[in-house]
Chain length 462, copies 2
């Protein structure tokens, strides 16, 4: 592959001019798109919006398909007419979160409204506004030049907001048709500073429950205290063997596959200047979690976690009740880093439970592999340069996010480099009332999409 | 004091004959008494029943008073006309538990009904049926002989079912007027075998909450896992320092004041033959609480406990939720044995919390001293012999009950020996629907009361 990023870029500037000239029209069309609800959790409007997307992509000359899954359909489009140029797979999702609580919205969630330079509507940021910007980038290139600079696949699913239950199987089943050189996802909020972001990875997750039972019913703590085992104590003692107060997870082999950050990742995170004081102030904390001297970036990107999401057993009402409860449970999640595997980690946790508290029931509830694309991955420079070109500002590079997305379906199932480039503003309020996207972010998103296509067009396949 | 328990007992046999002859009449009068609700938790009928009791005692020639407290009034009666004879204080309570759930009663709770040799009504066993039996014992002696064999004080409170919040202060304030040689309480269920019981003590209680907070709100376990401290982990690690999995409470000084059982107590508990297998089978347990080799009687009578009554924090609903909660709490009670003091124990627990988890809030919620009357206490033989005389069977001797009652107000505030002699059947279902007392237990209760008065009459004050 040969890239000449510095080559005079006449084609792209024409596309940028076109985008600039059509700003208001594009915002108007976004508003039209956002009027259509597509709430996956409530099965509202999904089919209609999928059909809209099929229409949009067909109109652009994409070979377009609506592909059924056991859940909601996937919209797939392909435009592959530049032999020798790379193929980018653009991923997004056309479903949105439920809009509740409705009364908290200043303008109704499906009556998009412009206020203070922002479009307010459910889906404005997450994710309709972002993949619509990608579609407009494609349209702008096609309108200005009659063709795209590179090959493009577009994959829009309708179940992201309900946990993407079918995406892994879909990608596995259609791996041949999803073959590409890189995946780019425009999703998530950007940085508070307004500086653009590129994310190269996500943590995985291994979630489980521990359930303890002792007697066949609750008993009186006076009549049976000291006689009948207490499942809360059982879980307390078990948990205390799993992670110590210094913050070390003490399950045998838990850290075995953890890969240390590369020099490039260390440099990138140093430039992020993630600030412990800022987090502490924001959340009213005196100290961060143990070990207290670990840098914030390391905590989120390079270390796995073991979080107790909930612990419940016995009496929880007002005052006291002298009960000795007969059952208790904890819900936990472990966030995993490369190259931990949730199946392996869950097996190790299960073995630990069997050893230390054989009567406690271990129940797997969720597992997703971590994902990471190396910072020096082949198309890394192209993506970074495209973001720089569109924004006029160097992007912040996040080797990994703390959270979990099913990004592994691209990096591990398809074996393709994957970049997440958020187009939305940091305060998009996704999943909350008054979700919005700033018009500035939306237009920069279209520009970023356009610059990316242009940059990829300059890469000859090796 | 000189007792001659073997002296030919002409007087008592006449009283027994009278009781036998009036059986049906007594049951009829019990039914009349039980018709009057006196639910302290709901403030129903308390005043009316207190007045009824004042009437009953006055009719017997007792000097009777209704004494106000900050809560419900205490009924006090005194009959002190045998100089040189001992004075017994009879304690009971005239309030009852709420009758809910009403639909679970076969006959309505305040329409006493006889079925299969039992009187079914709220309060039949706990405690109206029992103190009414004591009153009938007094009446029987007075009717047959025109006098009582010893001096008698009777103290009936109206707040036992709401935790006796005023009894300690009442006893302290009226210590002079409550001066007596022994206290006898007829309360609680008897033994499953039907064998009579005498109890010499109760465990105390020290109850508290531990509350942990970290961030000022719940956060996402992906975005903040490894960064933000988790109050559930804080409590798990703190609790694990307070009691180990071998069942040892590891709070410094916790066991300091625990007194080993006396030889007499060991002998008495050996005769009880408390059976681990029976408990295990009844409650569906594979093993008893750690340490698993401790005898059941020791667990309930001679060892303090540390029970977690409830642990709550974070998500507890169906499925998983990747939350990192910002607050959690546990509610605990420690049952105390002689000579532990709840104030001292709570101070030690608080110091432990300060040392190991200074940010965790410690909140005292309840404290009651343990109580124990030595098995070789002066009137012990008299009480045991009275029970034997009434039942024709040797009583089972319990040095201590596992549960907590404010018995210390007699043993520690008044400094008087205190004996609990349950008159009700083991399956009285107190605090539950279909509460009942067998007519056999009720009549044996009257006989026990009568035998006790007779026995005390044979004791000359030293």
């Amino acid at each position: 592959m040969n890239i000449d990023l510095n080559k005079s870029n006449v084609e792209l500037s024409e596309v940028f001019e076109y985008i600039d000239a059509n700003k208001e029209l594009f915002v108007g069309r976004l508003i039209e798109y956002l009027r259509h609800p597509s709430v996956s959790a409530q099965n509202i409007g999904i089919g209609k919006v999928a059909e809209l997307l099929v229409g949009m992509l067909s109109n652009l000359g994409f070979e377009t398909q609506l592909i059924q899954t056991p859940g909601y359909p996937v919209v797939m489009g392909r435009w592959e007419r530049v032999p020798g140029a790379p193929t980018v797979l653009l991923y997004g999702h056309y479903d949105v979160q439920p809009p509740d609580p409705l009364e908290a919205w200043i303008s109704p969630p499906f009556e998009p409204t412009i206020r203070d330079g922002r479009v307010y509507a459910r889906g404005a940021g997450d994710n309709k506004g972002q993949h619509f910007a990608q579609i407009l980038a494609l349209e702008s290139h096609l309108t200005v030049h009659g063709r795209l600079p590179c090959n493009v696949l577009i994959l829009l699913e309708g179940e992201e907001e309900v946990g993407s239950p079918n995406i892994a199987e879909f990608v596995r089943a259609h791996a041949d048709r999803l073959k590409s050189d890189l995946v780019v996802t425009a999703d998530g909020p950007g940085h508070e500073s307004g500086q653009p972001i590129i994310t190269y990875g996500v943590r995985g997750i291994a979630a489980f429950e521990l359930r303890a039972r002792a007697a066949n019913r609750d008993v009186h703590s006076g009549n049976f205290g000291g006689v009948v085992p207490n499942p809360i104590w059982t879980l307390v003692h078990l948990l205390a063997t799993m992670k110590n107060s210094a913050g070390e997870i003490t399950i045998e082999g838990f850290y075995d596959d953890v890969v240390a950050p590369t020099a490039l990742e260390r440099e990138a995170t140093a430039r992020l200047r993630l600030d412990a004081d800022h987090v502490k102030q924001e959340l009213g904390l005196v100290e961060l979690d143990a070990p207290t001297d670990r840098p914030v970036a390391d905590r989120l990107m390079f270390h796995p976690t073991f979080t107790i999401n909930g612990f419940h057993g016995g009496y929880g009402g007002p005052g006291s009740k002298t009960v000795l409860p007969h059952e208790a449970f904890v819900k936990c999640d472990a966030r995993l880093v490369e190259r931990q595997n949730p199946d392996d980690v869950l097996a190790k946790i299960e073995a630990h439970v069997k050893k230390y508290a054989p009567d406690v029931k271990f129940v797997r509830t969720e597992s997703t592999l971590p994902s990471k694309t190396p910072l020096d991955s082949p198309f890394s420079d192209v993506v970074q340069h495209a973001v720089y070109t569109a924004h006029g500002v160097e992007p912040l590079i996040y080797p990994t996010l703390g959270a979990t997305l099913p990004d592994y379906v691209f990096t591990k199932v398809l074996g393709t480099a994957s970049f997440v480039v958020p187009y939305a503003n940091y305060d998009e309020d996704n999943h909350a009332p008054n979700e919005n996207i700033t018009i500035d972010c939306f237009i920069k998103g279209i520009r970023t999409g356009a610059a990316l296509l242009d940059g990829l067009g300059r890469c000859a396949r090796s």
